[in-house]
């Protein structure tokens, strides 16, 4: 029935129809609802059933545990900070849902709006890349990021990081991470520090008002470490209780919305690795790189850099490291694309992330910058790997001509 309706509407969107100006939107919707009937015209007669829509949807699926946990954690942190003694599950979830919903809607509306407009302008089919980006952006930002800032940053990075390069598949930098970088450097006061990571106000009568007591901050564990003075320090939560590694693993700590729970990230990683959508080479080598650098930093721990007291395992548990390893570094478009290149790229992401967060107290978290830096270097890594293939071929040729002469 829906199909009949679409077929009836179709002539309006074809060249000459009155709604032709919106044909990209229509095509996008039609191909989303129904598999296109396009059959192969050249080359192979059959194609694998996997397409980029399914690839993107699987990534979104893998992000769902993080999203759901983020809702729970947001509500939980709010109740904890406002002095509640009871933590009813559904009201926590409802609070978190209401807190994140406007952010998700705004990023999708802004991002997809730009994608639709550009696709229309270029006369192309709408591409599904932003489906993933649009959910990633709210997940990696602090919950208190003002909605208008999200809109501005999303618009900036979709236009200048993706569309000017040609759209999905052509960008050099990870769009979601650039959005966060724009926020981080453009609005540092709202994006970091003590008060960004915990939702402070009640929404629709749910939740409470968080008042920060003296000497108690809502900073993330890494933020607290970066500002610690001297050797002995204890990471504490919003009401001053210490945070254990177990809390960090589960994710009941202050942090950006979706990246606190290592457990949920692992579930996502399992989905991505099982389906083969993300590269296990990259994921594994990011982890190895982080452990390696974490071990070195921990071995030479010094009070000048308090984060160097974190054990290698803690380096993986705290902050955005795990999220970056699983969802950010593995973005196939901006990562290295050659087999060997992926190992180098991933390892360097892990190493640099730990270097930045350990040896620069100004940046409590280095995962974002590490991935962006390696995005820039990935083409160079690939160039070198491709060059080894080329020089192998050239050597063979040279050996042959020498033999002949």
């Amino acid at each position: 029935m829906l199909k009949k309706y679409l077929d009836r509407m179709k002539p309006h969107f074809e060249p000459g129809g009155k709604l032709h100006a919106f044909h990209s939107v229509f095509d996008g919707l039609e191909t989303f609802l129904y598999t296109p009937e396009t059959t192969s015209k050249s080359g192979v007669h059959i194609h694998d059933s996997l397409d980029s829509k399914r690839v993107m949807i699987i990534v979104v699926l893998a992000l769902l545990p993080c999203l759901l946990f983020g809702m729970y954690n947001t509500g939980y942190q709010n109740l904890l900070g406002s002095g509640a003694t009871e933590f009813p599950f559904w009201s926590i979830m409802a609070y978190g849902f209401l807190a994140i919903l406007p952010r998700i809607i705004v990023t999708y509306v802004v991002g997809l709006g730009i994608e639709f407009a550009v696709a229309q302008w270029r006369g192309e089919e709408i591409q599904e890349g932003f489906l993933v980006t649009g959910i990633l952006i709210p997940l990696i930002c602090p919950i208190e990021t003002p909605v208008w800032m999200l809109a501005v940053a999303t618009a900036f990075s979709v236009i200048f990081v993706k569309e000017v390069f040609g759209g999905t598949g052509y960008n050099i930098f990870n769009v979601a991470l650039v959005t966060r970088a724009v926020l981080f450097f453009g609005y540092p006061a709202q994006m970091s520090g003590d008060h960004a990571f915990i939702a402070t106000k009640p929404i629709l009568g749910l939740g409470g008002t968080v008042t920060y007591a003296d000497g108690i901050s809502g900073a993330t564990p890494l933020g607290q470490i970066a500002t610690a003075n001297g050797g002995d320090f204890v990471i504490h939560n919003i009401i001053g209780q210490p945070i254990s590694d177990w809390d960090a693993f589960l994710g009941l700590i202050p942090g950006s919305f979706g990246e606190t729970s290592t457990l949920c990230i692992l579930i996502g990683a399992a989905i991505l690795l099982f389906t083969g959508i993300a590269s296990w080479r990259i994921m594994a080598s990011v982890v190895v790189g982080g452990l390696f650098m974490g071990f070195i930093a921990n071995t030479f721990a010094t009070p000048t850099y308090p984060a160097s007291y974190l054990t290698p395992l803690q380096q993986l548990l705290y902050g955005g490291f795990a999220f970056a390893a699983v969802f950010m570094a593995t973005d196939p478009v901006t990562a290295a694309r050659t087999g060997l290149g992926k190992y180098i790229y991933g390892f360097m992401v892990g190493v640099i992330a730990v270097i930045i967060r350990t040896y620069n107290n100004g940046y409590p978290e280095g995962a974002m910058l590490a991935v962006l830096l390696m995005n820039a270097l990935a083409p160079l890594i690939d160039y070198c790997v491709v060059q080894t293939n080329i020089s192998r071929r050239m050597r063979r040729l040279k050996a042959k001509t020498e033999q002949a002469s």
Partner: protein
């Protein structure tokens, strides 16, 4: 001499409609066609006109650039039509076979003289059945091949079993190998699938090959035995052509009869039929295509590299196979990208079919998605058993960057070798077309 190569990368596609018995049904020959487009690099000039009577083996066309290279008529009969396309391009020459006129052309050949062998191959039309790397074209007459690679098996989906074709032809294969050996200073390699019983003559180097498709492609075998470098020329052919060459050497005639495998999920009874090269397809399929109200796609060849025959309806060289699949343009599939149907064929573990390793599928011709930029990385590498970085080669090919293409190994490759890359590609890029166009472009630019 004997060598062994084991290829790990690649993919065997399990399709419905494979042949399980080897007996052959003869089908009377009516009309046949010779299509010059099947012979890449051959620029046709007609030797006959409509209404001419021809004998089997008589030249129908010659190559404008190398007059000695001919395309021969596979049957004796009357030239019924010369079909032309845009700008009077010759699409095909159609011949009606006449049973009463069964004249067969005989050719002069001295099996001890390389020049005489070459001349006989060109005159008889067998030269055009071989391919040259680089460019995957009919061999350039001016170039001596470094080596010659013969493949003795076809690994493509539902492909016929070539060992049936050469049963009892040991003598021909030996004579053919001897003749080819005269034409190259290097080796004649014959690649046999490991475990198959095909006797390889002394003069040739036997190579035992194991691994999934495309291990049966002569070019893939060449790349793993002795890769083609810039300046090299090698020839590739299959063992059936080799036997025909041997036949020419021994009997001075060419046998154009061919066994065709009728396969595919939309065929009632997959079977072998015997006919001649270039035969009309309709009689071979008569009553054997499922009448299930679906649109059908009849492919001359296999599902990866074959040619859609909706345009003419003849068997195209080099295929000895017909595959019938559903077209699929009549299917409305709601949210196909979210499907968990076990009938979806895929290499991805995101489909349940991955758990059913033995299951065979009936895919249709839909491209199952939209064309995109290259998003996923490393997908092509898994199905290309050559020391080549396919993604970068494809990009260089699209960019028409001749230096880069050379450096990345364009001389080693033919479009058919990358057919599986095109199949697995989630971005649905027309890889074989890109490679074909790039090869043609290079040949034009380098004036080769």
């Amino acid at each position: 001499m004997r060598r062994e190569i084991s290829l790990k990368k690649g993919l065997d596609l399990n399709l419905k409609g494979s042949i399980d018995k080897s007996d052959t049904t003869p089908v009377a020959v009516g009309r046949v066609a010779v299509v010059p487009d099947d012979f890449q690099g051959f620029v046709p000039k007609l030797d006959v006109k409509e209404g001419d009577e021809v004998t089997q083996g008589q030249s129908l066309m010659h190559d404008k650039n190398a007059e000695a290279v001919k395309l021969a008529s596979p049957v004796a009969g009357v030239v019924k039509a010369i079909v032309r396309g845009d700008r009077r391009k010759i699409m095909r020459v159609e011949i009606d076979a006449c049973r009463e006129k069964n004249g067969t052309t005989t050719f002069e050949v001295n099996p001890d003289s390389a020049e005489s062998i070459k001349a006989a191959l060109m005159e008889s039309g067998l030269w055009a059945l071989m391919r040259q790397r680089p460019y995957d074209i009919v061999p350039n007459v001016a170039k001596q091949p470094r080596d010659i690679f013969v493949t003795a098996f076809d690994s493509a989906p539902l492909a016929p079993d070539l060992s049936l074709y050469v049963k009892g032809k040991e003598k021909e294969i030996e004579a053919g190998t001897k003749a080819l050996k005269m034409l190259t200073p290097g080796n004649v390699y014959i690649s046999v699938r490991k475990g198959e019983d095909i006797k390889v003559p002394q003069q040739a180097t036997e190579v035992l090959v194991s691994g999934p498709h495309p291990s049966g492609n002569a070019g893939v075998q060449a790349a793993n035995i002795a890769p083609v470098d810039k300046g090299d020329t090698v020839w590739t052919l299959d063992i059936v052509t080799l036997a025909r060459i041997g036949d020419l050497m021994l009997n001075r005639t060419v046998d154009w009869n061919v066994t065709v495998a009728v396969t595919g999920p939309e065929v009632y009874e997959p079977r072998y039929v015997s006919t001649v090269a270039g035969a009309e397809i309709a009689p071979l399929l008569e009553g054997n295509v499922k009448s299930d109200d679906r649109h059908h796609r009849i492919i001359s060849g296999n599902v990866l590299t074959g040619i859609t025959t909706s345009g003419d309806g003849f068997i195209h060289y080099p295929y000895r196979q017909i595959t019938v699949i559903a077209e699929g343009d009549d299917v409305d599939e709601f949210m196909g990208w979210a499907s968990m149907s076990p009938n979806k064929m895929s290499v991805s573990r995101s489909f349940p079919s991955w758990f059913m390793r033995k299951k065979s599928f009936a895919p249709d011709a839909r491209i199952n998605g939209g064309r995109r930029a290259m998003i996923m990385s490393g997908e092509y590498d898994k199905v290309l058993p050559m020391d080549i970085l396919p993604e970068y080669l494809i990009k260089a090919a699209i960019a028409r960057d001749i230096d880069k293409m050379e450096q990345l190994g364009i001389y080693e490759i033919a479009p058919e070798d990358m057919a599986l890359c095109e199949y697995v590609d989630p971005s649905k890029i027309e890889i074989q077309k890109i490679i074909r166009d790039a090869l043609d472009y290079m040949r034009k630019e380098l004036d080769d």
